[in-house]
Symmetry: C2
Subunit: 204 residues, 2 copies
């Protein structure tokens, strides 16, 4: 039984694999896994399909590396929430960071949303394991802050959900947001406006 040892990668392999990931993110985020084709990704990456399949053994493998990398970045901001810090400052920077992610990495957000809509077939274990653990921990921190009267009392889990929902909304439903806000308010400033609003909402 020859184990699948991760081969040493050449410079070209590293570059091309990154290029493919970039292209695949674009395509998967818009059409989901089943709705995307290898040809689409290959074209977006400026190479032929067989060439792409030289770097990734199949469609699943491309998706897998994206999802894996996504989850690392996804949990990072919440991890940074520090029990020792000032509650309001901590919450405020968490909202800020989440909002910046919605602005700067909308495709990652949409990829995640797509996976959720499909019932999270590939990351359910991570959600029930790593994510749940992290949220349990941070919810306890928030609950503690609330008990000490340093934050308005509320359900800490739904508090976290609400921050997720509202911030990611500006990435996932960006079309709708821009359509409703129209020319004037739908410009670049919309993320800044949203961040300010959310700070008021969650920290009033």
């Amino acid at each position: 039984m020859d184990k699948q040892v991760p081969r040493k990668r050449t410079r070209i392999q590293r570059e091309k694999r990154e290029l493919i990931r970039e292209a695949a993110l674009e395509v998967f985020a818009q059409h989901g896994f089943r709705g995307s084709t290898i040809d689409q990704i290959a074209e977006a990456a400026g190479m032929s399909k067989p060439n792409l399949l030289y770097y990734f053994k199949n469609k699943e493998a491309i998706f897998a590396t994206l999802i894996q990398r996504l989850l690392e970045n996804w949990l990072a901001p919440l991890r940074e929430m520090d029990e020792a810090g000032d509650p309001r400052t901590e919450i405020r920077s968490y909202i800020r960071r989440k909002m910046e992610m919605a602005r700067d990495f909308p495709r990652e957000s949409r990829l995640f949303a797509n996976e959720m809509l499909q019932g999270a077939p590939r990351i359910l274990p991570t959600l029930e394991g790593e994510l749940k653990e992290l949220v349990d921990e941070k919810a306890a921190v928030i609950a503690h802050w609330m008990r000490d009267g340093r934050l308005k009392k509320a359900d800490p889990y739904h508090f976290i959900f609400a921050i997720w929902a509202t911030t990611q909304h500006y990435a996932d439903f960006d079309v709708q947001v821009r359509a409703v806000l129209g020319e004037k308010r739908g410009g670049e400033g919309r993320f800044e406006d949203a961040a300010r609003f959310l700070e008021g909402l969650f920290l009033e």
Copy 2:
């Protein structure tokens, strides 16, 4: 040029078309338009592919009727918000209704989310037209309430976005919510808990 007159429909046609819509909603909501196949929908509806295509001329046509019906129901709750009513009561019932929709019609919510993620190719005009008009109108109502000191001051547009985002989150990201809440709190009561939390968030 023979116009496509909407034929009179038999009882069977009405029933089967409804059955197909039901099946298609299930499939489209999970996989999006491109990710869904006619065969999948036909099987979910308990009929053969050619039989399904006897009732709808193609995949697009099925999707179109779903989207059309969806938009009507989607705007209804916001339409009911009444300027003459008590602001806090109006907001509270809007949140309640939206939350009930997330609980009772999660597939509709996911279908909508899927369309958004793909850039709303089929409903962008409606968003820029009908939806924007409605939101403009209701945002003005809310702004008025706020100016009169009957509601805490905030940006009315982002206020509405936040209600959409948080309520729909419990339908679209249901897997995640259940995974994080776990056995105990992830049961049927989660929608009620969420509704209570959101009332506090938006109205306190």
